[in-house]
């Protein structure tokens, strides 16, 4: 969410996994929190902010 308010390009959705079992299957959710970015990057569990931002955004940034 902090990323979403910091960028027009970033959107954040929080999904209650228990209410949407079809997602649990689709995204193979074995634990929470689980993050899925652009259907491509997956992060399981809570990780420190900088690592979280790096893992979720790096594939979608301009190469520096």
């Amino acid at each position: 969410m902090r990323m979403a308010v910091s960028s027009d390009q970033v959107k954040a959705t929080v999904v209650g996994a228990a209410e949407f079992p079809e997602d649990v299957r689709k995204y193979r959710i074995s634990g929470v929190p689980k993050t899925v970015v652009n259907e491509k990057v997956e992060i399981l569990g809570a990780v420190p902010e900088e690592e979280y931002v790096r893992e979720s955004l790096t594939p979608f940034t301009v190469t520096q």
Binding site: M3, S7, K11, A12, G16, E50, R54, L57
Partner: protein, 143 residues
């Protein structure tokens, strides 16, 4: 029975008083085939009464498909957290209970400008270099 205690309400009153701009929770619900829509409606009705700076706008997901499309809502219960004329793209699917409620509060605080995103500089740089739309989904459970 109220879901929020008096103490909760007082705490939220203080939190919402800090909002620098009004925040709107655009809530989508439906009457049938939605186990948690009632619970979501009850909590949002209670939250919406706490402060003038926070309003809840309710839509019927089935009858108001145009509004649902505008906010990119594909299922219910759903909440879009928006400010006056600006939509930073924060959505909640599922009733805001437990952990999800805490996240909803955080979203309100951020969208209302009561707190800055306050990300590390390296994170801000990365965000600045994002070149395509990024859709982050976070799956949570209430506990």
């Amino acid at each position: 029975m109220a879901l929020l205690s008096d103490a909760d309400r007082q705490e939220l009153q203080k939190t919402f008083a800090e909002l620098k701009q009004p925040v709107k929770l655009v809530f989508f619900t439906q009457t049938l085939n939605c186990e948690t829509c009632d619970a979501a409606k009850q909590i949002l009705d209670e939250v919406g009464k706490i402060s003038d700076k926070l309003t809840v706008e309710e839509h019927d997901f089935i009858l108001e498909q145009q509004a649902a499309a505008t906010y990119g809502i594909s299922r219910v219960p759903a909440i879009a957290v928006v400010a006056n004329g600006s939509d930073p793209g924060i959505r909640f699917f599922g009733a805001p209970m437990g952990y999800e409620f805490a996240s909803l509060l955080e979203a309100i605080i951020l969208v209302g400008g009561a707190e800055d995103a306050d990300l590390a500089e390296t994170s801000q740089q990365l965000i600045g270099s994002v070149k395509e739309p990024v859709d982050i989904k976070v799956f949570v459970t209430p506990t």
